[in-house]
């Protein structure tokens, strides 16, 4: 995916002005926020389960090499070819290579954010291989001129059904529909022949199970089964190296949290554990199975201050609950991962210099940390990124000047007292008879849309001192 994160500010402004998007984003609160709140009450010990999941994920991350080796050995034993890619581009080329080796003309895909990192569809098309998205949301985006997803689990959450109906009518050359069920039937009719004529299926991988060499897939539409078991002779799973879990028991723990945190479901409609290609005599399964494990910046986080981010299970709860994401949606973040997790991952994977706004564009309200099923301290990580930016002089000069002046004064109480006395008086004067300041220099971002309630003109410090001297006198 093209990196657009440097345009965050301008794009956020456009998104705020998009009345239709604003309406569509309201779905987040009703569908995901309420859904999750209800679903987590089903667990007797939600907090304990979160702790256990975080611990189990960290156990995998802290010995990643061991568990990846175990996964590779177990998967290979069951006939899977495991390949590693250092960069996202390398990973895309590996998939292209596999397709070429098996003379593949048509690929069908499930939703995979790692494949977005890889620009996989683009790489396949460039090699003359057709690639078709079969997740309904991703399919809608693909036929809309390859629009990028705006959410990691609900890629098309920014659109309403009327927009989809319009798009279907235009692209499918059929009369426009109004009913969602009819629309899904239409998509099914269009996609069914594609499933049946594809040579290779590409999926993501929610988790890798080391002890069995399995790939775990969590979906709601059943397209995953069509991509892996039914028609294609080749199945390629692409996923990040950090997705490994040591045991099936670990998987059981995180699966208690993933669907509940993501969509408010106790369990997703489909949940598959894919363990090797079809063995002799088995009727189901592909002839060949590959797993492409993508690094693309992940090892850079191991052992460092951003390591906690690697235990992310990609549920999207952080963005669903983020007051900023709720107002601007995912596109403004400008890369694969939006919301709080994206504001940590994007600078970590593609460089903090390519995403200057993202660590800053958060109120640090902490709700993302509260809802994260694996307790990633996202606000702390964002703050650490801010520290990196500050130290590398990536912030505007005015910010350094302002902070330096404020710092200088705040460490010198006498100077600070004089400065705040003056500020209180000036602001009182600026407020006039209404006691509201409608324009503040250097804080236009505030006063463009808000008044600043003016202070009464004397500081607490001076009033308190006066009271003390009165008491004594």
């Amino acid at each position: 995916m093209q990196i657009q994160s440097m345009h965050f500010k301008a794009r956020a402004g456009e998104k705020l002005a998009d009345v239709r998007l604003q309406q569509n984003l309201k779905k987040l609160a009703t569908k995901f926020v309420t859904g999750r709140a209800n679903a987590i009450t089903e667990l007797d010990d939600f907090e304990g389960t979160r702790d256990a999941a975080a611990e189990r994920r960290m156990r995998a991350i802290e010995n990643l090499d061991v568990w990846l080796d175990t996964f590779e050995r177990e998967a290979a034993r069951r006939g899977v070819t495991v390949l590693y890619a250092e960069t996202a581009d390398d990973a895309a080329q590996l998939v292209v290579g596999i397709a070429k080796k098996h003379a593949v003309k048509k690929v069908i895909k499930t939703k995979s954010m790692v494949s977005e990192e890889m620009n996989l569809n683009h790489a396949l098309e460039a090699a003359g291989i057709q690639s078709i998205e079969t997740d309904l949301g991703e399919y809608i985006l693909q036929i809309n001129d390859n629009e990028p997803p705006s959410h990691i689990i609900a890629p098309v959450v920014h659109k309403d059904k009327e927009q989809v109906a319009e798009l279907f009518a235009r692209v499918h050359h059929r009369p426009p529909l109004t009913d969602i069920e009819q629309m899904t039937h239409e998509a099914r009719q269009v996609l069914r022949p594609q499933f049946l004529s594809a040579d290779m299926g590409v999926t993501g991988g929610n988790f890798l199970i080391a002890e069995t060499g399995s790939v775990a897939l969590v979906t709601n539409e059943g397209n995953e089964g069509m991509c892996t078991i039914m028609p294609p002779k080749v199945h390629v799973a692409v996923t990040g190296i950090e997705k490994v879990l040591p045991t099936l028991e670990d998987l059981a723990t995180v699966m208690r949290l993933l669907p509940r945190s993501a969509t408010g479901q106790s369990i997703s409609n489909y949940f598959s554990l894919l363990t090797g290609p079809a063995a002799q005599g088995e009727r189901d399964g592909p002839e060949h199975m590959y797993v492409v494990l993508v690094d693309a910046g992940r090892t850079g986080l191991i052992g460092g201050e951003f390591q906690d981010m690697l235990r992310c299970i990609r549920c999207g709860a952080c963005m669903n609950h983020c007051p900023v994401y709720q107002k601007i949606g995912g596109h403004a973040y400008g890369w694969v991962y939006p919301g709080p997790m994206g504001s940590v991952l994007t600078p970590s994977y593609i460089g903090v210099e390519n995403a200057l706004d993202l660590p800053q564009a958060s109120t640090l309200c902490g709700e993302c940390h509260v809802v994260c099923p694996v307790k990633i301290p996202l606000p702390d990580l964002l703050r650490k990124l801010r520290e990196k930016q500050f130290a590398a002089r990536m912030r505007p000069g005015m910010e350094y000047l302002g902070l330096a002046l404020w710092r200088f004064a705040a460490q010198r109480p006498l100077l600070y007292a004089v400065a705040t006395r003056m500020a209180a008086r000036v602001m009182k004067w600026m407020g006039g008879s209404k006691r509201l300041i409608s324009h503040l220099p250097f804080a236009g971002g505030w006063t463009d849309t808000r008044d600043m309630p003016a202070p009464p003109g004397k500081t607490f410090r001076e009033l308190y001192r006066k009271r003390m001297s009165n008491d004594e006198g």
Partner: protein, 245 residues
């Protein structure tokens, strides 16, 4: 009991009257209130801007100023969160500072925590006589709620004020969009967030929104007034409890 009051930089400059309401509450409950003279700021603006060095200098200053009191009371969730939660991060590399901090950490309280959990203020000891009469709604400030766990205390204290009716608004736990310098750097996003807060306040039919943090206070009041709402009052919980309204 010697109670050190950290009155916060925003109360100092923007709303000194709130500082006096806090004093009134503490003194009428029998506390000997100490107000260290050299205090300025808890360092949160530096900390959240990535200026760790600047934040550490002010945290050390705070430590020296408040070491010799029995309790430290802070009438703000965000300053309270900074001092009680994040100083540990700032002091992490210095065993001496950590040890000194360890001695005061458990004695640091946000105002309503202190009034409710430590002083155990009840209906009889609330000065609500001349207090606010009408419908109020409580806005949970982010740091107070999520870093300190302040949620029940202000509500229970408010329930003791006669003639005050507490009505919960929709999404009372949601951020108001202030976020310190976020509100200036991303003023438009911040405004969209506070608009939703203001709509929820109005929808619950409250005469006043009560809160425990100056940042949220200025943000919500500033937006309400700019939008022409001159009657919904925005009050600090200390003002309401002290009857200074």
């Amino acid at each position: 009991m010697r109670v050190g009051l950290f009155y916060t930089c925003l109360i100092d400059t923007m709303r000194p009257e709130i500082g006096f309401s806090v004093l009134k509450l503490l003194e009428s409950a029998g506390c000997e209130v100490v107000v260290p003279e050299g205090q300025t700021c808890c360092s949160q603006p530096a900390y959240n801007s990535g200026d760790r060095e600047g934040a550490l200098a002010l945290a050390v200053k705070f430590l020296a100023e408040f070491e010799d009191v029995d309790y430290i009371v802070i009438p703000s969730g965000s300053c309270g969160g900074m001092v009680r939660v994040h100083y540990a991060d700032l002091f992490a590399d210095d065993a001496m500072l950590m040890a000194r901090y360890g001695l005061i950490k458990s004695r640091i309280f946000e105002l309503t925590e202190f009034l409710h959990d430590v002083l155990k203020l009840d209906a009889a000891s609330i000065i609500g006589e001349s207090g606010f009469a009408g419908r109020v709604t409580y806005h949970d400030s982010c740091c107070g709620l999520r870093e300190l766990g302040v949620q029940a205390q202000p509500r229970e204290l408010l329930s003791h004020v006669p003639h005050l009716q507490l009505r919960e608004m929709k999404d009372c736990r949601a951020c108001c969009g202030f976020g310190g310098t976020f509100s200036v750097k991303y003023g438009d996003v911040s405004t969209a967030i506070v608009d939703e807060k203001c709509a929820n306040i109005r929808a619950c039919g409250a005469d006043a929104v009560v809160l425990g943090d100056l940042g949220c206070m200025l943000n919500i009041e500033g937006r309400l007034r700019r939008e022409g709402d001159m009657h919904t009052r925005v009050l600090h919980v200390a003002q309401v409890l002290a009857g200074d309204v």
